[in-house]
Symmetry: C2
Subunit: 329 residues, 2 copies
């Protein structure tokens, strides 16, 4: 078909994918050839492979967060082995910006997109991508049942942490949270509530702290302004745990003795702080690898039903928790 | 010319840039049109702009290092405002792998490349890129005088740190290093030696520690196996400082009182550890912004002579240093 239209395969492929990069004259010529040859749009997988741009669009909310950096490294490692490259953008957690970068990815003819959707993403985004025939994998945040998803069992991680703290005698457990509300946020909060209720504990101590690491320490006092004083604090992520660890140090509170602290994500720093941070491992690099594999599978077989790959978490016990102090009334 | 050859501007541009993505027949047709029209390869800047792919290749050694994540965020922010996107790859600090990803970037028709060259990069890489007419900006590591460079004044940073420690009475200062030997490594080591010599101090206490954060703490004993016991430790980067801080905590050595510690780079964690880490700020996001600006300037005017943008460092004094203890023989 490309030969009949007297254009390169790459150009023909751009026309088929409705790329705005192709000039109108070329588009008409290729379209004419398509009709003349009775070319069917729904090409077989093998045929499609040859027409690909070998680029994968990756969109994350924030590049400086080490969690997303590890996720990206995992995606890149699998994409690289497949002989493809990553086109990278950040949506800055803004829906409008996300629309812009998704459009730009399409203009660059990516074969598919791995997206960590911004908080507030609506169904319109998924409809648009489906119209464009642009394969999509959602990562970390599950917005649409109609697209592939790679994530982690946040609720399971919350259960593991509450179970462990309960085994040390803790009942008054606070949950320190921050950031925008998105499905991954909601899953963690719901997971915390369910795990606490399952043990008959009060799940109402949910404490919002600032987003920036350097400011979290100064919000530590919020932990001690609750209805009951917590003996343990479970954190939404390790950034919060590291910030609170600094704030507790500043107040002369010994972590693991006076107050137990559990992080979530288990980033590299968890091992390096003192006392070493007990944290729920989510292994972002492995999630990234899963997301890339889902996309490669989808490219090989576009007819696959939507799939979910949800990794289990692992509680990594270190030094930041101890037995609950005996209650003194 | 594109019209004469009956191809899109994008395809004509690929031919002009010698892209292997274009089929042989198309290439010949475009070449014929070029000759027929007396088309001159050295197009004006405005003309070139219209032929661009609007992608920038970015190659870094390691995506999970927060330093490179911040650098990448800085690059992406400027590239994004220019309406372009980032094609991302890592060279894993391997020259062979770097050759592969550079070739792949070219095949994808990037307008230019921002590269943090792997240790051991030879002049052949720069010659090849010049042959391909592929604009290049070196970032952080200055390998070639014939290409643009965005970096930071490592030697100046070393001077600031040694000056500050000297002002607190320190003379026996160890320098803790790790990682592969590349120009940025050499600049820091030379900078340390010169700064120490300028004060009349012995610059021979250079201590190599492991690369991984979690293993650095266990190498802390190396600090105390030197010819003379150091009263202060200057670190090659903050990763080393955080690792040693953990190791010193494990040995019951109070940072800032028993031993002074200075980091380098001033990543986010420097503010969150306790005691807060004094560190030399290199501001990787700002270096990334400079690299992107150099590349945009180069694309606008390929005839510019090679330029260097070297940012000054800023010593960020926090709590990890104190006066040198009185010498007890």
């Amino acid at each position: 078909m490309a030969r009949r239209a007297n254009v390169s395969r790459a150009t023909a492929s751009l026309v088929i994918r409705n790329s705005p990069l192709v000039g109108e004259a070329t588009r008409q010529r290729v379209q004419a050839a398509i009709e003349e040859l009775g070319y069917v749009y729904n090409l077989g997988a093998a045929r499609l492979r040859a027409e690909r741009s070998h680029t994968v669009g990756v969109i994350v909310p924030n590049l400086t967060n080490p969690f997303f950096a590890e996720l990206l490294a995992g995606i890149e490692s699998v994409v690289d082995v497949a002989g493809m490259v990553v086109l990278l953008a950040n949506n800055a957690e803004l829906v409008d910006r996300q629309n812009t970068v998704v459009r730009r990815m399409r203009e660059h003819g990516v074969d598919g997109v791995i997206l960590c959707p911004a908080a507030g993403t609506g169904t319109d985004l998924f409809e648009r991508l489906a119209e464009w025939n642009l394969p999509l994998v959602q990562v970390l945040r599950h917005f649409s049942l109609h697209a592939d998803y790679a994530g982690v069992d946040y609720a399971g991680g919350m259960r593991q942490a509450v179970e462990y703290l309960s085994s040390l005698g803790h009942e008054r457990i606070a949950f320190a949270v921050h950031g925008p509300v998105h499905p991954a946020y909601q899953e963690r909060v719901d997971g915390f509530r369910e795990a606490m209720s399952a043990h008959g504990f009060d799940a109402s101590m949910i404490v919002r702290v600032p987003d920036q690491l350097a400011q979290i320490a100064e919000a530590t006092h919020l932990l001690f302004e609750q209805a009951a004083e917590p003996t343990a604090v479970l954190c939404f992520n390790d950034v919060i745990a590291l910030g609170l660890a600094a704030g507790l140090y500043d107040r002369g509170i010994a972590i693991g003795r006076d107050l137990s602290l559990v992080g979530f994500d288990d980033v590299t720093d968890a091992e390096a702080v003192r006392p070493r941070l007990t944290s729920v491992s989510t292994m972002p690099a492995a999630i990234g690898e899963n997301a890339a594999r889902l996309l490669l599978d989808r490219l090989a077989d576009p007819a696959l039903p939507p799939r979910r790959m949800v990794r289990p978490t692992v509680l990594h016990v270190r030094q930041s928790c101890g037995p609950a102090a005996v209650v003194t009334a």
